[in-house]
Amino acid sequence: MLTDKLKQRFGADILDSHSEHGNDTIVVGRERALDIMRALRDEADFGFEFLIDVTAVDRLGREPRFDVVYHLKSMSCGHRLRVKVMVPEGDAWVSSMTALWKSADWLERECYDMFGIDFRGHPDLRRILLYDSFKGHPLRKDYPYQQRHPIVPETDPIVNPLHPSR
């Protein structure tokens, strides 16, 4: 069992685990997440060369409020893993995985865009699907789905570059 192997390797760093519906899942603390993910990628027993997905689930009413959910896949070992990191509302940050997988770049930007979670260490954390002047993070449960927004005034992107740093 993958979860048993993980518990053996990481011990108390794994806060919780389950294998519902055949999906192996572990919950880890955000301080240790980056190191654990690096080991998951590099160690031959695990060999997770794909970061398949990064997303979050808003458990409004629970403390801590957000689950940041990573889906990993190993082509060489043929297994998958879900890694969850719980983050509280007032201090919603996790470490960025951009140093380990390049796919983290856009996926984390989307998660920031939709949930307002800060990925510390991300080189270019800005909105991706929505526009810069958008207010709020729409996939949070307290964001009303019928919320309307004012029309964005037209600007000349050469005169006023949207991202002057680039």
Binding site: H71, S103, M114
Partner: protein, 404 residues
């Protein structure tokens, strides 16, 4: 992102003739099929930097799924990758069925496979035809459109719609095949064969086409894996990874087919892999039709499946059952599940979370195009501006899925 040194110097150059030029390409460019904007920094015609902006087709798929019942999500999934909507339907249905712990009937599994493969062919035909047209081979586009039309007629006969199919349900399918399906399929596949051989002759050894595609947009397999790229784009780099083989769902393990791969991971390999995949899909369809079992296409479970209209109109139990499913939605047990299927562009994953009520708590789709678009910056730097068109065409960005 820092520019490579030789361009960084140019960016700071005092002489305007040496300057890096900024160009906004898109979001509605006539030679790119899809609403996406490239913020380019150009050194002459060479691309020094390319910031890809997506999101113009964002319509809150994930948020809207949380507003309705589980069954009401199916029409939304049609509109993800609208070039192969059945695959999206199947992926979402499989995820919810896993959560409900039900297994669909044998016939339903075969039908889902057959229509998924038909959809994969329509998707690849769209991609190849459009990419060829953008490279100047307009004739090929009309040939592939003709073949696609035959397959869309087939999809329409089965599902009732060409693109917005909404054919799958939790627990099975909305309806079985029409009576004349065999003849229609045989006719469509025969015509497909002749179109594919025409396209092959027009493109595969065409000097202009090869010059535009070969050696352009290269991506190594290590980079592709790091960028999370799956599907034909990964296979073009030489990695024979296909979820239908690696992690078989439905009944894919019962069919004999190959995984076409490329060598260099350039645009020509991507074209080639897609082209050969259509032949493999055809093989799967033929084998599945040969072994297609009889029987119902829906499971018999009143908690998930609407009762037949006869019972709804003639018995109070039937009416109540119908009412409960329509008004409250099917009750999916609390839990979470991730289910991936091999979409036409790569791993199409659905991560669904249920709180036990009749509405999804969270529906997340893992869109293969979006992730491939994340690598476009890396692929394009150093190439010429005209290469954007062919590379973008071969990535097969589908706005509905990329922007959701």
């Amino acid at each position: 992102m820092a520019l490579p040194a030789r361009w960084q110097q140019k960016l700071e150059a005092a002489d305007p003739a040496e300057e890096i030029m900024q160009l906004q390409m898109g979001p509605s460019h006539p030679a790119s099929h899809g609403t996406v904007k490239f913020n380019l920094k150009l050194d002459g015609e060479h691309i020094a930097d390319c910031d890809v902006e997506v999101g113009y087709l964002h319509r809150a798929f994930e948020k809207m799924c949380e507003q309705g019942t589980w069954t009401q999500c199916f029409p939304y999934t049609d509109r993800l990758n609208y070039a192969s909507p059945v695959i999206n339907n199947v992926g979402f249905a499989l995820a919810v069925e896993k959560l409900c712990d039900v297994e669909v009937t044998e016939r339903c599994k075969y039908l889902r496979v057959i229509m998924s493969e038909v959809s994969r062919i329509t998707d690849h035909l769209t991609c190849l035809g459009m990419a060829a047209a953008e490279a100047g081979a307009q004739t090929v586009a009309f040939y592939t459109l003709e073949a696609r039309e035959l397959l869309y007629d087939l999809v329409e006969a089965v599902t009732g719609a060409r693109l917005t199919v909404t054919w799958c349900r939790v627990g099975g399918l909305a309806h079985d095949l029409p009576d004349d399906f065999n003849d229609r399929l045989a006719n469509a596949l025969k015509n497909l064969d002749s179109v594919l051989s025409d396209c092959d002759q027009l493109l595969s050894r065409n000097r202009v086409f090869i010059d535009r595609m070969s050696g352009v947009g290269m991506l190594s397999s290590a980079d592709a894996i790091s960028y999370g790229i799956t599907g034909p784009l990964l296979r073009a780099t030489g990695v024979a990874h296909d979820l239908r083989k690696a992690d078989p769902y439905l009944v894919y393990d019962r069919f004999d087919f190959e995984i076409p791969t490329g060598k260099h991971g350039d645009n020509y390999d991507r074209f080639n892999v897609r082209f050969r995949e259509m032949h493999q899909s055809k093989r799967i369809i033929e084998q599945a039709m040969e072994h297609l079992p009889d029987g119902p296409v829906m499971i018999d479970d009143p908690r998930l499946v609407l009762p037949p209209k006869e019972r709804v109109y003639n018995s109070i139990e039937g009416l109540m059952n119908h009412f409960k499913i329509i008004m409250e939605g099917i009750k999916v047990p609390a839990g979470e599940v991730y289910q991936a299927v091999e979409g036409a562009n790569g791993e199409l994953g659905f991560y669904v979370v249920s709180d036990g009520s009749g509405r999804p708590y969270r529906v997340r789709v893992r869109p293969p195009c979006f992730i491939a678009m994340g690598a476009l910056n890396k692929i394009l730097i150093g190439h010429m501006i005209a290469d954007i068109i062919t590379t973008f065409g071969m990535l097969n960005m589908i706005g509905g899925e990329c922007d959701r």
